[in-house]
Symmetry: C2
Subunit: 369 residues, 2 copies
Amino acid sequence: MKKFSIAKSRRVRSTPYTSRIEAQGVTAYSSYNHMLMPAAFGSLEESYHHLKEHVQVWDVSGERQVEIGGKDSSRLVQLMTCRDLSKSKIGRCYYCPIIDDKAGLINDPVILKLAEDRWWISIADSDVILFAKGLAIGHKFEVTIIEPNINIIAIQGPESFQIMEKIFGKKISKMKFFGFDYFEFQGVKHLIARSGWSKQGGYEVYVENTKVGLALYDHLFEIGKEFNVKPGCPNLIERIESALLSYGNDIDNNDNPLECGLDKYVNLDNDVNFLGKEKLKEISKEGINKKLMGVKIETKEIDVSESIKLYNNKSNLIGELRSGVYSPHFGKVIGIAMIFKPYWNVSQSLKIEINGTNFDGKVCDLPFI
Amino acid sequence: MKKFSIAKSRRVRSTPYTSRIEAQGVTAYSSYNHMLMPAAFGSLEESYHHLKEHVQVWDVSGERQVEIGGKDSSRLVQLMTCRDLSKSKIGRCYYCPIIDDKAGLINDPVILKLAEDRWWISIADSDVILFAKGLAIGHKFEVTIIEPNINIIAIQGPESFQIMEKIFGKKISKMKFFGFDYFEFQGVKHLIARSGWSKQGGYEVYVENTKVGLALYDHLFEIGKEFNVKPGCPNLIERIESALLSYGNDIDNNDNPLECGLDKYVNLDNDVNFLGKEKLKEISKEGINKKLMGVKIETKEIDVSESIKLYNNKSNLIGELRSGVYSPHFGKVIGIAMIFKPYWNVSQSLKIEINGTNFDGKVCDLPFI
């Protein structure tokens, strides 16, 4: 595919690490929450293999935080998500679909409970802060809503545990998945979570002190030589193979959580109050008519920059492909697609036109096997 | 400056015109409201001269519409903006700062009044739809809020009047600035406004019927040969020379409208109800401590991808540059900066470090003269 430059400006702003990743060979960016998000360091496939075998350091500053504090903060946070947070614990991360009153998805953040009255919503790419402010104003909630100056460094890959243990001690490798705690570096405490946007394991450091964060960034590369550490970024191949959903790509405001396989984050059984609950009860009763599934396509190349229609052998529209990539593991293109109800059979055959050529494929379950 | 590719995906989606502008030689993109927005067709300076002399057709699909309809629509729209819309007329466009309850800017759209109970908010780059939904839900307003599938084509430049008259007749060249009306092309009515993000004159076609919109796009180039029509996009040089503000670049949520020279769109005198009004009254009484001004810098090159600090001769911080470009008209770099109160004197001298070299400059009023 032909390449185009990204125009930089303050509107799609640089991160504290931008000059470092540019010196380290970043080749492509996307924008994410109005910030530059690295999208490639040369070959996507080389980076994918490296991520699965070693350890990478990622500038994911674009994962902005919406901090909600104050007397009504828990009420507001719960109002925004269909996941029951009534038993949530301080020191834990929660993957939470955020939906509107029509049950349409607005974001799918990880929410960190910092205190009974203080939360960070670690957002995907949409301005959740505006939704939170609108709701808070309308409901006259006593809350403070800000975007703190936090710029996350992610450490991802199987060797992330060793490198982090070397810096922060054994305590960090014993932390459970989606737990978080505070760890000192150069005299400054950092919130570090065992999380990240890959399935290769790792951590996210919520850097509040930029100066020390930059020192940590450099330190990771200094001591990381023995682990073959490299700069990286969320990897399109790895994330699709792992079926990690991407808001704006695979799911959007026209979808509800039940259509996106997020049933286990939907709580309709008790009296917890959230937006879209009545609508979700209706949908749950009537059943859904489309759902997110995997597809495998008999070709080696694809670039998805908008939805691509999928047909069956009789030229009936069966759904749309929303993201896709060549998978070295499967030896073909795999992707995530929204499929209409009559075509949910695994092995349903499909036809897709890519750059004027027709290819065959099959529908499959998610995660891919 | 080193160039980096933009990674395409459905999350930063293509527009109906993307394949056309790529065939026509677009070289750089930005993202705008989660869509690809063309940022350059080769030389910025050549495109600037052409825009000032002839006519260009722009894909500005990224200017999304937030449609607000229903019984309480006027109440909601007024609640979001400090501009008094009580005497607004159907068929007119209104530049309206949108602010939150702290008077911080959230967007600076043009609002179109389609009917007494139907509005389009033609937004700059932030998810105003989420703010509107949050407010509507919290206030239990009877409104419908959607993002319709509208993809604007802008026709900009001094010869835009002739080319549009050739297609739509004399009625269109008689339309007043910021008026809009409906014009037929291939049997389909299009809302066309006399507006656009340049000071060279022109129109914006709010394309709802994509197929006919694409035909119109092609037709503009077919009949536009005699006017030397070219594809283009909002031009960084032209917009800064014209002091057209860019939300996210020059102004953001940490600024209020009075700091941004938007006083004439702030109404504090009657009983119109909008968010942040009490705060703005306070600010108005106490006076502002920073304001948006122009700067001229004695150099020929700059790339602004984050704020750059400005100092006086005594090394005191006097403000920050937020956007800047080499201006052929002034023969030096000009820019838009937020300047602290003690340094508001026109001709206040300034020092700026650009890529490790120090340059001198001066503060000036906006618009540039």
